[in-house]
């Protein structure tokens, strides 16, 4: 049997969707309530890591393949840079080039919301990647490496 016991699997199924929605909420409302891209991204990553722990790596990778995670990782960072660079059109790097909107509405405060989203993408995929790398990683033992080098 791949993954953990039935209890863990079932309960994971119950909560994973909720965790992801909660993480997205934290990201999108980062400029109105406590939270933001870093916190939300970590929460979203946690959902995928939970799925990986409960069901094994194949199920998690079917939802978020490793290559896709790499693309999201670099793409999120690039998007952050580009949003910042977009500010140059109105004056300076990281100047707010989007409309400020209305206070206390979801679509307000200009570039902060897209920046939060970019960070969330970056953080969640990064943490997922590093966890999968640490979980799956198997290398020859250190002793074998030293013996190889001596030989």
């Amino acid at each position: 049997m791949i993954g953990m016991t039935l209890i863990v699997k079932t309960i994971t199924d119950f909560v994973v969707g909720f965790i992801i929605v909660f993480g997205v909420y934290i990201v999108l409302y980062g400029h109105l309530t406590p939270g933001g891209g870093f916190a939300g991204g970590v929460i979203i990553a946690c959902a995928f890591i939970l799925a990986m722990l409960a069901h094994g790596k194949d199920v998690a990778f079917s939802k978020l393949p490793e290559k896709a995670a790499h693309i999201i990782d670099s793409g999120g960072a690039l998007a952050f840079l580009l949003i910042g660079w977009f500010g140059v059109t109105v004056g300076a790097f990281f100047m707010n080039a989007f409309g400020r909107g209305e206070v206390f509405r979801l679509l307000s405060s200009g570039m902060i919301l897209p920046l939060n989203i970019a960070i969330a993408f970056k953080v969640s995929s990064s943490l997922f990647l590093v966890f999968s790398a640490l979980a799956i990683f198997r290398r020859r033992s250190f002793r074998a490496m030293i013996e190889d080098e001596l030989a």
């Binding site: 934290i26 980062g30 400029h31 109105l32 309530t33 406590p34 939270g35 933001g36 891209g37 870093f38 916190a39 970590v42 929460i43 990553a45 946690c46 890591i49 722990l53 990782d73 670099s74 999120g76 960072a77 952050f80 840079l81 910042g84 790097f93 990281f94 707010n96 400020r100 909107g101 209305e102 206070v103 206390f104 307000s108 405060s109 200009g110 570039m111 902060i112 920046l115 939060n116 960070i119 970056k122 953080v123 990064s126 943490l127 990647l129 590093v130 966890f131 790398a133 640490l134 979980a135 990683f137 290398r139």
Partner: protein
């Protein structure tokens, strides 16, 4: 500030005790668990200090780290540490901590630092007062990190990117190619 200070000190004591246990225990699993306890206490402390977003992040990261560390620990056959105590290291760190405490006493006792809980609000005052009208962002923390100092946040995102990339680079199976592949290429 005054009404929560005792709780904060209690948490502080708890964290110190947890750290000492983590260092002193011979069983790796107990060490990992006490480190996690310290982390959870830290997240509660953030909550007391009025930073729920940091508390959330700290909590989630703590859970993640705990999972990874426990997984790492139980992979080992023997989770007990069997090593002699390095007297020199203990003495050195004691001396270092003594010096640090001495400096701390000098700074806090003398005229060095502002009073506890009354920071110098020269620059941050402006963030608090003009943050909402200037950025339209109700959460001042987010306003500071993603608007006033968004460039710093880009740097932090790059730090994360670098560490992930570095970890992936170091977790490669083989670092160098075989000689014949190099010749062929």
């Amino acid at each position: 500030m005054e009404n929560i200070t005792p709780q904060l000190y209690a948490l502080l004591v708890f964290m110190i005790v947890g750290s000492v246990v983590a260092i002193e225990t011979r069983n790796l699993l107990s060490a990992v668990i006490s480190v996690a306890a310290v982390g959870f206490a830290l997240s509660v402390a953030f909550l007391f200090l009025g930073a729920p977003d940091i508390a959330i992040t700290q909590l989630v990261v703590e859970v993640l780290v705990l999972i990874i560390l426990i997984r790492g620990t139980i992979l080992l056959d023997n989770t007990a540490v069997e090593s002699h105590r390095d007297t020199l290291a203990v003495v050195t760190s004691l001396i270092f901590f003594g010096l640090l405490l001495g400096f701390g006493a000098m700074i806090f006792g003398g005229r060095g630092f502002p009073e506890f809980g009354e920071p110098v609000m020269r620059v941050s005052k402006v963030y608090v007062h003009t943050g909402l009208p200037a950025t339209y962002c109700a959460n001042i923390v987010t306003a500071v990190i993603l608007d006033f100092r968004a460039y710093d946040t880009m740097g932090e995102a790059s730090v994360l990117f670098t560490s992930i990339l570095g970890a992936m680079a170091l977790l490669r199976r083989d670092g160098k190619r075989k000689e014949e592949e190099v010749v062929a290429a």
